[in-house]
Symmetry: D3
Subunit: 116 residues, 6 copies
């Protein structure tokens, strides 16, 4: 497993564990989180890009990985994602650079998966 597959495995496993805890508030939050990215007045594709930029300026690598996977699935091209990276970089500053490196690496891994 590469690091992205490891992340997906861990994410799935821990989400199941959190589901087992069976806390109504936490479960509802997870539902709200899923619903927030579904088609509505804005389409799901645009919302995933919003989620990606929010994750970058808040500097959360796991969130970046999750939204890059979703953005690739939604059909965003590399050129479009680079533009979103640039907005995040300008808004968030050089402190975002380590997360930009992470995002670019994650995107490269995604594209390799797609080819194989």
């Amino acid at each position: 497993m590469d690091r992205l597959e490891n992340f997906e495995y861990y994410r799935r496993q821990m989400n199941e564990r959190i589901d087992e805890i069976d806390h109504l508030g936490i479960k509802r939050f997870f539902n709200l989180d899923t619903t927030a990215y579904e088609d509505g007045a804005l389409d799901a594709k645009t919302k995933e890009l919003l989620g990606l930029v929010a994750s970058m300026v808040l500097r959360c690598n796991d969130c970046i990985d999750y939204h890059i996977l979703q953005c690739v699935d939604a059909g965003w091209t590399d050129a479009e994602l680079s533009e979103a990276f640039n907005v995040a970089l300008v808004v968030g500053g050089s402190i975002v650079i380590p997360h930009l490196r992470h995002a670019v690496e994650t995107l490269d891994i995604c594209r390799t998966h797609d080819k194989s």
Copy 2:
């Protein structure tokens, strides 16, 4: 002047003052900031929405006001902006709520300006 007009006046006035300081790095940063929201692989309209959500999760009222003005100019509807607000709220949590109030109020002021 209402609070949005006050903000625009102050913003313009201080940006001129910062321009007078004539620091090359700061001037280039302001240029980069402007360029980041221009049409490219992503269109300007989408980029403004990215800027709005980034401003909301980073909880900056002045940045929110600026991007709401830009989003309204770019043609985003209230229904679409509410969806972006919701993404920001879910990503950033209840700590975003005071900024959601501010954003909704700013949007209402914008729509009033448009009508008059």
Copy 3:
């Protein structure tokens, strides 16, 4: 109206305005937010103190005002609240000090309301 009454008036007014927007996700988020502070495995009183400290380290004055009002209603004493302020100060550092000033002032206003 003093600044705390102004805040409560504005908060109520804007929450109604947000409710009018009638976005399902946003409405559910507000419900989750209310429910999170109700009696459960932890009592409401303890949860309000958690909300206060979270608001202080995240440096949100409106959130601080809201939770101070709730904490006073829940029966926390000044001595206990000072201890919570201290935890927030140590965790969040001197950048929290302006918000500590705000919190202490808000608490003083609350106690004046109680007396009158």
Copy 4:
């Protein structure tokens, strides 16, 4: 050593190294940090829960691990900790989710240590 034992080992080792540096300000800060969680107008048990929620909304895994260990020692149950997790999640938003996964995993490791 599992990851929690590794963390405790590294934490102890580096705290000793920082102590060797013998900077008066840093030493006093570490003392203040310890004292902030001792019994006072609020009991130590409540303060540890405040520290945990503050660590979660500020999204610091090492701080989360430290406070979970303290909260378990102080006698907080899983049901009570889940409630604190929920407050942190609602205040801090979905950006807290990776840290919620970490917290739940840490708590599971703690409970396994207790049994063995």
Copy 5:
């Protein structure tokens, strides 16, 4: 009173009020905070500049005002302060711009006080 004098008045008044609360941890924190900027292996002048940049990237206007006052007293020139502003802007991104406006305005007010 201009806004800087108002800030200084409020700051002094609330610091006295916090002192009255007489919480040992809080008092010690305030002492640590004062001591951190005194001459040592680094001189006080350099430390104030560190405090200013830290305040800007953490986006706290009151902290910025305080450190600008200290930096001006310590003898930093406008050209040097602009360089520090630039570092803060590059590290923290465009989200720092509203605080840069505030910092430049505060510095202008300070220089006016010096002349009068």
Copy 6:
């Protein structure tokens, strides 16, 4: 390779990869970032210390590693760096402690490299 050499290798490799993407805005941002730390009205040595403290209060280990390397090259002594660490700790609070541990460890690795 120790962890600092790994970081430098990864940093260089990913910066080249980002350069390949050839996004004008991102390239210009990287240039601005480099230029911000060059001699000007403030000397490069002072600016690196500003960068270090900004990185610590924003809690970014990769940024801390980068600026510690630069600060050591610029000639800052351990005693001076400890003073900067202390400012960061007081401004940012105990949430900075895990990053202080990281910074001290990185500095120790740097000094070992210098000796060998």
